[in-house]
C-alpha cells in the first residue's frame, strides 16, 4: 500500500491505533499538539537519538522490525544509564518514497514490541516525507528519584569499575553482516548461513538494554557513583567518566568480558580482540563505578564483572595488558562524524 493513500494523519492513526497506555505518568498520549505527562513524585529524564540510513543502519541486512526495536532500546539504555526507568517515547520519522505502509507497520511492530517488553508508552511523533532514505529521531522520557540518579561525574579514587554482559559482539556482528553483504553483492536473495554466529547477529540487530542490571543493583542496595551505557565503545565511555569526574583509571585486559563467538570471529577476521571489545561499541551494556567498600556485595552479582579501578587523575587512564604493560586508553569509539568525513 502506498503511503500517500493514507496521508500523514491517516498514516499515524493507522500505525498507532493499537497503542495502549501502560504507565500512570502518561495522562495523554498520541492525538494532540503535545503529550501530557505527570512527573510529580519523581524527576523526569530526557534523552534523544537520531538514526540515519546509511550511517547508523543498512537496510540491506537490517529488517525494519529489528530497526524499530533497536531504535527504541538504544534510547531506553540511556535512561537506565542514569539509574532511571524509561516510561515514554516519541518517534519522528522521515520516510522516502520507496517505503510502503507495510514497511512502516514492520518498523512500528518492532517499536511497539520494545515498548511492551520494557513497559514504555509511545506518546507522540511526527511523520514526514524525506527526499532520501529513512531518518529516525527518538526521544525517551524516564523517571528516577532525585537521590538515586547516577551521573558520570561522581567517580572517586579507589572506586571499582564494573561492566555488565560482554563486549565487542555487536561490532563483530556488524563485520560479519558487512562481509556477507559484500559476498552477496547484487544477488537478490540475501540469505547467508549464519549458523553458530547467532549471538553476534542478535547483539548487532536486536540489542537489549540492561533493565535487569538496574533492578539487581537496587535490590542489593547498591548505588553506583557513576554510570554510562556503552554505545561508543568501552574506552570512549570510560574516558567520559574519568574526564567528567576528574579521575584516572586502570582496567585489566584479561578482565574484559568477551563472548566465545566474539573471540572466534575476531580470529577468523584476523582482528585484535581487545581492540574490538574496547572500541567496537553498540554493546549497550552498563559501565559503572562503586565504592571499594561495596566489593563483597558486588561479588555476589553475576550479571556484572569487575574490570579495574578508578585512580588519581595523575596516574592516567590506562589498560593493563596481559603482559603487564600499561597502554593509554584512546577514544577510538565509533564516531559517525569522523567516519563519513575521513
Amino acid at each position: 500500500m502506498e503511503i500517500s493513500s493514507l496521508g500523514e494523519f491517516g498514516l499515524i492513526k493507522h500505525l498507532t491505533e493499537k497503542t495502549t497506555i501502560k504507565n500512570s505518568s502518561t495522562l495523554k498520549g498520541i492525538g494532540d499538539d503535545a503529550a501530557v505527562l505527570s512527573y510529580k513524585d519523581k524527576e523526569a529524564l530526557v534523552t534523544t537519538d537520531i538514526l540515519l540510513e546509511g550511517i547508523h543502519f543498512d537496510l540491506t541486512y537490517v529488517p525494519l522490525k529489528h530497526l524499530g526495536y533497536k531504535s527504541a532500546v538504544v534510547n531506553f539504555s540511556d535512561i537506565y544509564a542514569m539509574n532511571g526507568q524509561p516510561r515514554q517515547i516519541t518517534v519522528a520519522l522521515g520516510i522516502s518514497k520507496r517505503f510502503s505502509v507495510e514497511d512502516l507497520e514492520d518498523f512500528y511492530a518492532g517499536l511497539q514490541l520494545a515498548c511492551e517488553i520494557y513497559g514504555v508508552d509511545l506518546v507522540g511523533g511526527d511523520t514526514s516525507a524525506s527526499l532520501t532514505g529513512l531518518c529516525i529521531g527518538i526521544t525517551c522520557i524516564g523517571e528516577a528519584s532525585g537521590d538515586r540518579i547516577v551521573y558520570r561525574n561522581k567517580a572517586k579514587n579507589t572506586d571499582l569499575i564494573y561492566v555488565s554482559g560482554d563486549l565487542g559482539a555487536a561490532y563483530m556482528g556488524l563485520q560479519l553482516l558487512e562481509r556477507e553483504k559484500a559476498v552477496f553483492a547484487g544477488e537478490k536473495d540475501f540469505t547467508p548461513d549464519f549458523a553458530g554466529k547467532e549471538y553476534l547477529l542478535e547483539r548487532q540487530l536486536k540489542p537489549e538494554a540492561r533493565k535487569d542490571v538496574v533492578h539487581i543493583l537496587e535490590e542489593n542496595g547498591i548505588l553506583p557513583t557513576s554510570m554510562i551505557d556503552v554505545s561508543d565503545g568501552l574506552s570512549s565511555e570510560l574516558l567520559h567518566i574519568c574526564t567528567e569526574s576528574g579521575v584516572g583509571c586502570r582496567i585489566y585486559e584479561e578482565r574484559i568480558p568477551i563472548d566465545y563467538q566474539t573471540a572466534l570471529m575476531a580470529e577468523q577476521f584476523n582482528m585484535n580482540l581487545t581492540t574490538a571489545a574496547l572500541n567496537g561499541g553498540e554493546d549497550y551494556e552498563l559501565l559503572f563505578t562503586v565504592p571499594l567498600s561495596l566489593h563483597e556485595k558486588m561479588e555476589r552479582i553475576d550479571a556484572v564483572k569487575l574490570i579495574g579501578n578508578i585512580c588519581d587523575a595523575a596516574e592516567g587512564t590506562n589498560l593493563i595488558a596481559r603482559d603487564g604493560t600499561e597502554i593509554a586508553l584512546v577514544a577510538q569509539g565509533w564516531n559517525s562524524l569522523e567516519r563519513t568525513n575521513s
Copy 2:
C-alpha cells in the same frame, strides 16, 4: 572549519558551551546520558517535530540562523497550543559533509536566540553525520497545570471560534521565495529586491509562536474549550478540532484575518486569497474555541479575531462565503507526504 576536526563530542561541546540554564525545572542539561528535569508542581507536555532539507526547508534562501530559530519556535507553538509554557528542548541533527562548523554555529545561534526570547533551556541533543542534507529532530518539553491544559476535543456546540494574528502570509512568503529562486536560478548571488514584502518573508523565515496570546487569555480569566496551532492551514486544524470534539463549525470568509501584504501578493500571483489563508499553513497562530458566554470578555482582546462558531456535527463543517453560499471545508493543508508522493 571542518566538522571532523572537532569530532562529535568536541562539536557538541563547542556549539553548546554558551548554553545557560534559565528554568528551575532544569536540574541537569547537556552532558550526561539524559537531561534531568523536575516537574513536581505541574504536568509535563512533550512534542516532537522533524524537519528535513528539501521537504521543510530550502537552504538556497533559508539562512541557517533563521532555520535554527524556526525549528525551535514551531515546537514552542505546539506547547502554547496546549495552553502551556515551553521550558526545555533537545536537538538531534544529521549533517552532511557540506556543512562547516560555522554553518552549525549559525544554526545554533538561531536556536539559542529563540530559547533566550521564549525562556527555554537547550538540555540535550545528538549530532550525527548524514549521507545527504540536513535533518533536524526537535523535542520540546513544557509545563502546564492539569486543570489549565487545553485539548482539541472539548469544543462544544455554540462555542465561538477565534484565531490570533493573520493567516496566509507565511505561504505567500514561500511562493515569493520560490519565484525569486526560479528567476535567479544559477546566479551566484541570490539578492532579489523584497521591498514592501518584508512581512511575508518574516512570516515564512522567522515565525513567532503566540506566547503573548496564551498570556493575555490567562490574564483575562479565559480558558478555551479547545485549542490548536495553525501549522497545516486553518481548514485542516479546524477539522481536527471538529472531528476530535464531535461537532461541526461555521466560519465566515469575510472574518478571516489577512494582512495587506498577503492580499497584494495573492493578487500579483493571481491566487485565490481565501484558499491561501485556509490552506497555506505555517502561520503558527492559535486557533481556539471559547464558550458563547465569554463573548463580551473576548471583545476586549485585540490579538484575536472571532471567525465563526461551533455547531452541531449534523450541520457539517462549512465556510460561509461572502455571497452567503456554504462551502464544505476540506483539509488541503500542507501535507509533506502527499507533496512528495504526487
